[in-house]
Chain length 330, copies 2
């Protein structure tokens, strides 16, 4: 549970009405990311999520919100931001999806059905792979662009900051991996990789499934606030590192990885360069989260203090990816 900004029913009601979403009936604080305040809001028309952004600014949010809108309108299951339909008396204009509540940037999106699946089977991984491929294709004509802000440049800036907190073996690993990734990013294969908007943080807790019936039905990807334009292969690497490993050891799970990749490729076949660089981008995905978790752990901002994840997990994942690179089997 992470609520930073208290919002009462009376405060939220006019906003929901300006969106044409009907009469607010209840508002319930819910667990969310560590950088937003989230409420479930039910009206007489449907179920929504109200988010107040505690880290991202009005200037930063349009990319993320319009990406979600674009994907939703292209049939990808993601929370769709709702637009103001009539003047709200608080400065909003019809068509706006970036809202303001209690002086903070805010958005109201459709609430996804279902729940996260924290022990995924190959069937779950196949559903994630297929939907990720469809998302990559749907994003190609999105008309806004911003780079992955947690990409290579950020790793280079941040590794020197976390280095003093590492022991000798960790320090050697993180420096050699960073040098390797810089080397990869200077290669012609890397420059030839297909690119576009990627989620960049597609972990088990950012996907919903509805488990009624036999086959898992994926009901949505969410939390797009680390999205940016980068290689599709990096998105695949990040996802494989979470969906298709044993969380205790970091070891690869072949059945789940094969299911993920086969389903992905049934929608979008990997290019020759992507096939070559798949192991490198899995390493990149592990490095990215090892660095950010080291950062959060050793240099916490106040709000993040209680929720910092153990950086050791992604150190193990990286060591596994380096020691046991696995290319495609399909």
């Amino acid at each position: 549970m992470a609520v930073y900004t208290e919002v009462s029913l009376d405060e939220a009601a006019p906003l929901l009405q300006s969106l044409g979403l009907g009469q607010l009936q209840s508002i319930t604080a819910c667990a969310g990311g560590i950088e937003n305040t989230n409420y479930f809001v039910d009206t007489d028309q449907g179920r929504y999520v109200l988010t107040l952004f505690e880290r991202l600014s009005f200037a930063q949010l349009p990319f993320y919100l319009h990406l979600m809108k674009h994907l939703a309108q292209h049939g990808i299951p993601v929370p769709e931001p709702h637009a103001i339909t009539a003047a709200d008396g608080a400065g909003g204009k019809p068509g706006d999806i970036l809202l303001r509540l209690k002086g903070k940037p805010a958005a109201v999106v459709n609430r996804l059905r279902g729940r996260s699946e924290l022990a995924p089977t190959p069937a779950h991984c196949a559903a994630v792979g297929e939907t990720l491929a469809r998302m990559h294709l749907a994003g190609r004509d999105f008309d806004r662009s911003q780079p992955n802000l947690r990409g290579l440049a950020w790793w280079n800036e941040t590794v020197p900051v976390v280095l003093p907190h590492l022991d000798e073996a960790q320090s050697r690993l993180i420096r050699s991996e960073l040098a390797y990734q810089n080397h990869v990013a200077a290669s012609s294969n890397w420059h030839a990789l297909p690119r576009g908007p990627i989620h960049a943080d597609l972990f088990r807790d950012n996907v919903m499934f509805d488990s009624e019936g036999d086959a898992p039905q994926l009901t949505g990807f969410f939390d797009f606030y680390f999205a940016g334009c980068d290689t599709f292969l990096f998105d695949i690497g990040v996802s494989l590192n979470d969906w298709c490993i044993h969380l205790d050891s970091g070891a690869h799970d072949a059945a789940r990885a094969d299911a993920f990749l086969a389903a992905y490729q049934a929608v979008r076949r990997l290019s020759p360069q992507e096939r070559v660089l798949l192991p490198a981008m899995q390493r990149a995905g592990a490095l990215r989260f090892w660095i950010s978790r080291l950062w959060d752990f050793h240099l916490p901002r106040e709000a993040a203090l209680l929720q910092a994840h153990d950086p050791g997990h992604f150190e193990r994942v990286l060591r596994e990816r380096v020691a046991h690179p696995r290319g495609l089997t399909c």
Copy 2:
């Protein structure tokens, strides 16, 4: 004059001796960048510059120093870092070019002859263009890589931070330019641009000329501490924006730009994609320095306070580049 760390002759002498550079005769504080302490040091063997790094860490410096060494060894006129030749009793090993003095990272490089040319003619611009092209070619087999840390990702992170300090027209310009650059960087033309280590800050005050005789002789590029791997075309755009404009208005000077580009292309011919994107990368160069000067001006760190440049200059340069794009004439 910017001296942050006092170094006496007695403190510097053992370091110079461990480099095999002879007996130290004098040490003189000299003006430098705002982030380093620089001394001219003369020994009985030659003239050198001793730099103590006040911002960059031991972890960050090897890329820059080894790039300078690599370029020098490939015949590009840049300050060459000297390596320890014998154990120095202070922890350095033979071969090290990253040194330590008074607990800070340090380097000793050859001192370039000559002086900066702050009113360049077409002949000076041609010399810079030719040397830049040779530098780009020589850097292609440099075996370290790091991205340009003041590139697109940094612009996206920093624009929202400086926006509150801008008026409405400036805010519109910087946001639309950032969107344009994000769009360019998502294009196949941009991904096809040749890349490698670039200087990324090649302004008039970072080049030396020896003015003996008739033709200006370029004696070196220096201050490589914003170098990184990026498109060669971005380096060209940054350089054109300083060497080949009227500093009062920001307007393009055709004679100097043509001289620069003809000399560059005599060494390395621009690719079709580079020819298309040259105006866009000049805009990118202007945007990068407008953002960093806004940052330095409105959010100064202590040390930079006295030396912040007027951000208005690069706002004018950007407006000029947008209003009067100029492609190649050769």
